[in-house]
Amino acid sequence: MTNLLIQLGFMLIFAINALVTLIFLVRQITFSVVGVAHPRVNLFSKAKLSNWPTVTILVAAHNEEKVLSGCLEHLVKLDYPSDAYNVIVVNDRSVDGTAAILDAAAARSNGRIEAIHRVPGSTPGKPAALADAFARVTSELVVFFDADYLPHPPLLKKLVAPFIDPEVAATMGRVVPYNTQTNLLTRLLDLERRGGYAIDQAVRAAWNLLPQFGGTVGGVRMAALAEVGGWSADTLAEDTDLTYRLFAKGYTVEYIDDAMCYEESPANWHVRYKQIRRWACGHNQCLFRYFRSTLTTPHQTLTRRLDASLVLLFFLFPSLSLIGLGAAMVYPTLYAFPPFNFAVISAFSFVVAFGNFSPYFQIVAALVRDRQPSAVAMLPLIFLSSAISMMASTDGLVRALWGAMSNRHLQWDKTVRFRKEGDLAAA
């Protein structure tokens, strides 16, 4: 009897794994095919508004002396009515030259840049830093940039235009790494970014599903933010948290494919691991909190609810795969190989192995869409970053479960910067 239960348990693991993998595989392939055909022009970008809404740009900076001055130089040169936007930069307890750089830029900006210096001992992390800035926001919209970003002049209007749609509560642009040629990791991350933005986000927008608000290169409507309870600082994924709170209230996020901004990708595997772990932990926190409300909200169509719920499982999927792989390795050592067991293992292995290639389809489609098909040369190496992501996601899931059970505040891991003199030339 015990033996039978154990075998059934293994079968259940294989069945769940295969089902989830199959669903993601079908979704990713469908998105890839559609994404290649989808036109790039965003119609919102062509709307010529006579009255542009007021905007506050928020930037959180923790030890960003290598990158902050470049970001601020770009922010004061945006093509937007000068009396309709201002910038608030939060120095989040930096111990390097960030504070001095910020104060100097604010002094030169004729009041456009406002500096906030958080005192030592404040709650760490970007969400908490931005919460301090929100107290000073009086505009209709806020737009977020990370301190290493280099927004070009037309970007702000592109991010703001979709707010003419009353259903849009947040907008998201496309993040483009500029340090792709640094090493193997930055090349692989560039591929992953392309698949995620140029295909997944773009098709979600085209099919009126729910694109993700990414917390940077994006804007939020203040009235909608107030309606869903304001900015949340008790999560590691404040962007995902906000996306799903807005979704449950009937709002949507608009992804603008041609609103592109350069960013710096991590160039170190350890830094990348910690970044993925933080994303996975925060994303799974949102899974625990919002899965039910996402599936049941009366303000959204069934298709939107199903896809949004599927996206909440994104960072659970690597852990499921890891459990399935482990089970597939252990199972043959416990049970002999009669035809049934062999057939089960083979079918499971085929589905999971093929299904784990689903991101590859999106990456290839994105390279075709970006007109750089020869970059597919790096694709065979993507399994390296996938393996790291799988381990980091599982680590993040464990931390999220621990945080949920123990009700403890989880620590924010800062992403280390690598920019050197001359790196801005590409941007």
Partner: protein
Amino acid sequence: MQPLDAMAGLRLAIGPAILAAIFIAHWIYFRARRASDGQQVILLDELVNQPTLLSSPGVSFDAQSRSLIVATLPPRPIVIGFDRTSHRSSDPFHVGDETVGGVLICADDLVCEGVSRFLGAVKVGGDLIVTGDASFAAAVIVNGVLKIEGTAHFAEGVLAKKETFVAGGITIGSKDGAGWASLGELILGERLGLNGDIVASRAVQLKRGAR
């Protein structure tokens, strides 16, 4: 204690050896291809298709209206009591002789059959079909098809993500200010009143008897 069996030791070493060989092969591949992987930083805006632009620079609204039939604001219609907060509809929404105040969000189609006025922004998840006389004071966003068989006046602007078929009359903008239209594709019949710009990302067809 018996020494470790040689075959067992070999079996234990096979797995790590295969993994190491895979990593080495990939490393060699990376070194060989990185100089010519074709991976470039995307130049911003270089991949955006240029849409078709119709505009009326230097042409007064009155001059245009002499040769074209322009939808005018209808006489005082019946107010059905929508308040200033947003109104949501998940079914096809039919509007007759009435004024809709506040924001209107329709998850499905919106059909304007009579003499209707919309004072706030309008978002249509499906198709917007105008068979009567409709005027929109604020921005209109249509996820589906925009089909005008009567007359429609978009004082501020209209965005239609799919096709726009105009068999009746369409007016963009007003005497008080320029408007805008950002369309997927425009198939235009006879009557256009334009003070502002129309941008169509795919095609503009000017023909009689549009669907």
